[in-house]
Amino acid sequence: MAAASRLRSFILVGLLPALLLYLIFVLVPIVWSAFYGFYEWKGIGAAKFLGLANYTEALRDPIFWKALKNNLIIVAASIFGQIPIALVLSLVLWKSSWFHRFVRSAVFMPMVLASVVIGIMWGYIYHPQIGIVNYVLDKAGLHSWIRDWLGDPKINMYAVCAPIIWANIGPYMILFIAAIQNISSEVEDAAKIDGAIGYKRLYLIVVPMIWDTIKVAIVLCISGSLKAFDLIYVMTGGGPAQSTELLATYMYNNTFNIFRYGYGSAVSTLIIVISMSLVLGSQLLMKRK
């Protein structure tokens, strides 16, 4: 009896710190934000109950949809940028020679940099007056190509995708290298005898054999696109004129710049719903194929 109660108290006391922290700071906020979404609150004074007004306002706001579209642009840039580049690199960079290890390390390196640093660095690279992109274009005589990369609403959403792709190729490359190493050598040998080499090998052997891994990578691109907040915040702040607004920056700007905590909570809840349904939806879609 004494042993059983000692075990029980150990389990209880031992789990308590982790469970408490986790419940208070991860799970409870999710529930609260759904709840706060029904209220209007300016940060001081009493909250006013609004019903669904915050939610319908967000869904009627064209900027909200613009932000969602920008999020999807980042998803598309990740899927069609990171995955093909990572796949090609993984086909070429599988050796454990020092040279291949060095190139792999270089490709992975941006993953350890603070996103703020990446954002400021690329902000300078794209800078209309002092940026090295325009400097190179100027020296190369391509004057008509020179532009305000982050200021021009027609192209700035694509411009911010470049650092996102640059920073995130590494993990996909490592993922693909591991998957390619798992293709059995018999399959490879048979394919070789049948003449599947080079590009043929890529399309006929590698891609079908690691298709499951590619699906995982696509799902990762979708969930990863929601993490672009830091970079966009630092590079453009969602502007100019909200042209690079993401769901997360939209939420941030509406909450902390104009102090609409209820509205921000409603948008937070919508972000959770959207991201969960995007990730689950993509997983279901992938399974069916």
Partner: protein, 299 residues
Amino acid sequence: METTTPTRATTGEFKPGAGFGTLFKLLRRVRSWAGNAFLAAYAVATLYPLIWLFISSFKSNQDFFGKPFALPSTWQFENYAKAWKVAGIGTALGNSVIVTFLSLALTLLAGTLAAYILSRLSFRLKGLVMALFVLGMLIPIHSTLVPLFIMMKKIGILDTYAALILPYTAFELPVAIFVVAAYLTSVPKEVEEAAMIDGNGYWGIFFRVIFPLSVPAMATVAILAFLRFWNDFAFALVFINKQALKTLPLSLAVFSDGFGTDYSLTMAAMSIAVIPTVVIYLVFQEQIMKGMVAGAVKG
């Protein structure tokens, strides 16, 4: 590019005609050189923004504008001193160190304890607790910013170290628990039994046996958690307002408008923020690569 793979090399053997052998060999070598040159160029291009950052951090503002690709005409080490003092990077570094290491300690202690209980002991509701921790890995962090802000405002811990340490730890716990728990399954049950025969209670087993045994798994957790805590921006941005408490990424963000600032000073300040992570990366590359990929796939 696929020329550097051995498939091309081995298929050469199928070509008939011995006279062509040397020619093919030569061709292959040229192609493999071209492939390697391309790869080297790619690696340098990838690293270039970082190299540019370090080089620019020693330049004068004139050099920074006028000769973006050249080495500094005079190496201005005083940029670093200026960043440290004028831009408050010294204070920010101190804050980052405090917040990162306290969060690490809390994550490792609470995480390993929970991992031990969840992996080695059985009790009712265990399944539920595990499911809760899995759920947390699916939640997009940014969607918790507003509710966490409101909650911390109400309990009055905004603008304190705790406003960062507690949520950092909470969000890192699922990963920490699963990594350590997976590692502990490889520890034989006899180890615990022996410790129990030696007269240890559960706490004794945990602190004298399990905790020291978990060090390799904790190292993996710690490296990845370090990078995440050190680099975090979103939480710091929303929960910290006081200049004296700002962490490195938050202090750097001041420079982000890019107009009318001292560029070489900014570059020096960013270098100070980046150097610790680059050093950690150089030392623990393999672990970081594997850990980040595993974490991403599970999450």
